[in-house]
Symmetry: C2
Subunit: 419 residues, 2 copies
């Protein structure tokens, strides 16, 4: 596929991708936010395209004039496919309709450098799963070295917990190191302290489309109809706070101080060529979780770290979305199986994605709970994040001469508030 | 205080109360929803009052014309107090301004029997705590009979978990019994089955007011500024599903199929006369959790059960909000201590409220995990809910010749979907 917008083979946003985001121009008020797609180094303003009749008979109203993708997400895949077709037509190299309309181009195409990205959706609820077998096993080995690394339910259901939606932020927003209650194993009583084990979690987040009514679960053969697309996600974690608080009701303050996502939602359509079989599931899942078709995706993932002393980012780990044991479809189905309703714009995190061959998706695993510091190219060492560190997740699916990329999922650590 | 609207001493909604809710008239579309206060057996339409200039110079715009209380909750206590004063003036026995304006009365005062209540707010995030010491101890004794009933962190912090906001429903909405994954302790593998241990949890929910920015915790001396008011809450729970899924990340599908709240939000102002000292906290909380003033409330709570065979509700348990070990202020502060941002309309559940003298807030405790069935006045027995059962929570603070009541928090159990 050829496009009249120019870009190279390593560009995240070729015409095969067309991920959706919410933006306004720098200098504009946030109330001006609208929907765009990333193409090359630019963003195409879909509000303007809709106002100019490009989606006539496809949209019930100008869903792209809103500062969130929820209304578009609600419309479902038949509409998503029609819009994608229009966009690929309009951007096709040979099509002059927008390419040669200088007046419209000026109003509809902006360099990415000129815009501010906002959260792509109003996230009603955010849920975080724990679906990488290798990550779960590593955590088990670190915390319960003498026991079976996997807990009894792990191979039977996608373990997950409800997260905090209000603190999901878009790439680029700084994250303040938390203070909180911690207790060293050797201490008699807990204390209030600065978090000393600030970690990342390398995850992928899925955005829900139409969703379901309360009491009416989504079946496994319908799951894909309800998945709009995915983003990269850093589920920042305060390991010392989490360790003290999480029994018996799960992570709380150790997780709710910030979750960073990449701004562009990559659709299942764009990822379709990269769909593959996931890990073999043994024991076989119960029938409500048995997939009818493969639903893993070959997406290369990397984490880079920039420090204050050494601002050029260096890679600290890599992984692949294909290692996820429980698929997004299975996660979604299990989430609704007791009747829970999904709403357009809900966000479901994959859980930290580690892999079978030293792919490690957290500093907890990379430093083995602080025992083995990472040595950066600058010579600096890290067990967990230091103030001023910037953690950048990147990811892409590699096609022939093109990439389906995600853009950066980046956040910088600010010093904790004074105690 | 005397009011020109007539009601008896046991009415939930005297002039001292004035709880806020969202409603439309039966037959109207949900888009007509607006804010009202309950008074006697009626509702006063605040949208109409605002349009008629009653809140001039108090409100930035007609926040009562919205189908949710979020905008009003955001305004903060100084505004809430001004509005309350206007309402108590307007409703005072001797004030003719509305009392004698038949034309306006016809547009602004409706019998409760003529309205449909909606959720009082758009709930961005819902969190559930676990703050009754007696409930936590009972659960410990049931599930870990040979160990200390309280886990090590319980006396040091208000343990809680993020819940599911999308499935919070208003009183009166039926709840479908869930199906889900369960595993009997003696079974080799789990199975997919109808929930056999459907339970209630007797709770109180608090609605958040203005809230805080991400990274800027709310301090204990400011906590009250951020608490708008409270409702009764039934945190429906599928105990068999929860038991299998909840280790290590907490309750999930066993909790996210429905949470019922009462429709009228009772303000802290109305509850002020019933503020008392809470349970003594020993060990003393860390300083960030040390209260500056008493923050327990003497609110009598009852649970009634109606069955299909015996539709007249009978009381199955009672408790009191004053037994809560960790106060709402402490819960709110702890929730934000790592930096989590609170948003107007967020809902925080107290946790099941049991007490020191056989006050038991769940069927799990009342039947001691099914070992001791309750015998209802009709002779029917219950360990957990049967299909067709209706669970009704009631509550009030008892003043001299008046009550600050909540109205019913009621939900009927529908049969599970066919497997
Ligand atoms: Ca996570
Ligand atoms: Ca609860
Ligand atoms: Mg997080
Ligand atoms: Mg619930
Ligand atoms: Ni939420």
């Amino acid at each position: 596929m050829s496009c009249w917008v120019k870009y190279g083979e390593e560009c995240d946003f070729p015409i095969e991708n067309l991920p959706y985001g919410v933006f306004h121009l720098k200098g504009e008020d946030a109330r001006e936010a609208r929907v765009g797609v990333a193409i090359g180094d630019s963003v195409l303003d879909l509000k303007v395209l809709a106002n100019n009749g490009f989606f006539k008979d496809i949209l019930p109203f100008n869903v792209f004039a809103e500062g969130a993708l929820n209304s578009f997400m609600k419309l479902g895949r038949p509409t998503w496919l029609k819009v994608r077709k229009v966009l690929q037509d309009v951007l096709a190299k040979e099509n002059p309709i927008l390419r040669d309309n200088q007046e419209l181009l000026k109003k509809a195409l902006f360099p990415l450098s000129a815009i501010t990205n906002l959260l792509p959706a109003k996230i009603g609820d955010y849920t975080d799963f724990y679906s990488s077998r290798e990550h779960a096993e590593n955590m088990g080995r670190i915390f319960r070295p003498d026991a079976e690394p996997l807990l009894p339910n792990w191979l039977w259901l996608p373990v997950g917990y409800h997260g905090r939606a209000s603190s999901v932020v878009v790439s680029g927003q700084d994250i303040r190191r938390p203070n909180g209650q911690v207790k060293a194993p050797t201490a008699a009583t807990p204390s209030f302290a600065r978090c000393n084990k600030l970690d990342m979690e390398l995850e992928v987040g899925m955005f829900v489309g139409p969703g379901n009514d309360l009491g009416s679960p989504i079946s496994i053969d319908k799951a894909e109809e309800h998945i709009f697309g995915i983003v990269l996600m850093n589920d920042w974690s305060a390991r010392d706070i989490q360790a003290w608080e999480y029994v018996p009701l799960g992570p709380f303050g150790g997780k709710n101080f910030g979750t960073t996502i990449s701004p562009w939602v990559v659709t299942l359509e764009a990822l379709e060529p990269f769909r593959i079989e996931g890990p073999k599931q043994e024991p076989a899942p119960l029938s409500y979780l048995q997939p009818k078709s493969p639903f893993a995706f070959d997406i290369h993932l990397e984490v880079h770290l920039a420090t204050e002393a050494s601002p050029a980012p260096s890679q600290i780990t890599q992984s692949n979305f294909k290692y996820l044991y429980w698929s997004m479809a299975q996660q979604l189905v299990h989430h609704t199986i007791t009747g829970c309703n999904m709403v357009p714009g809900d966000l479901l995190g994959s859980g930290t994605i580690s892999g079978p061959d030293k792919q490690l998706g957290s500093l907890m695993e990379l430093s083995w709970n602080g025992k083995n510091p990472l040595v950066l190219p600058s010579g600096e060492k890290r067990t967990f994040f230091e103030d001023g560190d910037t953690c950048i997740i990147k990811g892409w699916a590699q096609g022939n001469n093109y990439r389906i990329g995600f853009g950066d999922c980046s956040g910088k650590v600010l010093p904790a508030n004074k105690i």
